[in-house]
């Protein structure tokens, strides 16, 4: 039972993250343009060590296909030239709209869940 509950918690976290990972990536690269692995590192530094069952590459590909990011190649620290990503103007607009939706949804869910007292056994 405990293992099942743990698996459900992990799956829920994955599903939640899947819905907002594109916003996280846009936000990360909006601060400073970044290449693939660099974005993974920055997400990890902020507590998103795992991005669910997949990886960020397909998502970056979709953002590129949809014109939400711009790319360019530049030398990295001693390594080969890397493909850097930054939000396009459409990407910045999508980020602003997405963050607004996220906050509204988060507040609504918080309003429902706030009275619940959480007691997790060690």
């Amino acid at each position: 039972m405990r293992a099942t509950l743990w698996r459900m918690a992990v799956e829920r976290r994955t599903e939640l993250l899947r819905g907002v990972l594109d916003l996280c990536l846009l936000a990360i690269m909006d601060e400073v343009p970044a290449y693939g692995y660099e974005m993974t590192k920055r997400l990890r530094e902020r507590g998103l060590a795992s991005v669910g069952e997949g990886s960020i590459y397909p998502l970056l590909g979709r953002l590129e296909r949809d014109g939400l990011v711009e790319t360019y190649r530049a030398a990295s620290n001693g390594g080969p030239p890397r493909k850097y990503f930054r939000p396009s103007s459409a990407g910045r607009m999508a980020l602003a709209l997405g963050v607004s939706e996220w906050r509204a949804a988060r507040d609504a869910v918080d309003a429902v869940l706030a009275p619940v007292k959480v007691e997790v056994a060690p």
């Binding site: 993974t40 069952e53 997949g54 990886s55 590459y57 590909g61 590129e64 296909r65 493909k83």
Partner: protein, 182 residues
């Protein structure tokens, strides 16, 4: 990890991803994996469960990026009209030859017999008498198709043509690219 990238390359090639794009993605992935390895980060941390399924990972990446060529739709992949016409002609020839052989029409072998009216026997079954051959003569047309070489030649040619058409259809079907998996 080079094996992982190599399997991705193979999958992209199979999916028809243009070589420059496939090489670009392979180079980016190789560089990221190398940097992660240098920093002690495992491939699983970087790629998630995809680290165990390079084909699925490669397909997902290429699909999301929109670099897998679209399979030709029915509208753009038209059946060649020449092939349709050729097959139809061959089929018509086959039907015509079969009917001609089965019914005996049209006949092509003619046997003329001159005789007197008084001694003229009744035509046996399978023969008919055509009028206009004169008072003492009759033209007897052979009614059987067994001696009609034109029909047999036409039938043979029709069968050969239909076989050739079948081979052309088979070749055309095999030349169609496979549809992309979902």
């Amino acid at each position: 990890m080079s094996d992982f990238v190599e399997q991705c390359r193979r999958e992209w090639r199979r999916l028809g991803v243009p070589d420059p794009l496939a090489e670009e993605m392979a180079a980016d992935l190789t560089a990221d994996l190398a940097e992660a390895e240098t920093e002690g980060v495992s491939a699983e941390e970087l790629l998630g469960r995809s680290a165990f399924d390079p084909c699925s990972f490669a397909r997902s990446w290429a699909d999301e990026r929109g670099v897998i060529p679209e399979p030709p739709s029915r509208g753009t992949r038209r059946i060649p009209l020449v092939l349709v016409a050729f097959t139809a002609l061959a089929a018509i020839a086959l039907v015509f030859a079969s009917l001609a052989l089965a019914t005996g029409q049209p006949t092509v072998s003619v046997a003329a017999v001159k005789t007197t009216r008084s001694h003229l026997p009744s035509p046996p079954p399978g023969f008919f008498v055509r009028p206009g051959g004169g008072p003492h003569s009759r033209q007897v047309l052979l009614h059987t198709s067994a001696s009609a070489p034109v029909e047999w030649i036409l039938l043979l040619l029709a069968i050969i043509a239909l076989s050739f058409a079948a081979w052309l259809w088979f070749s055309w079907g095999r030349s169609r690219p496979p549809s992309a998996p979902a």
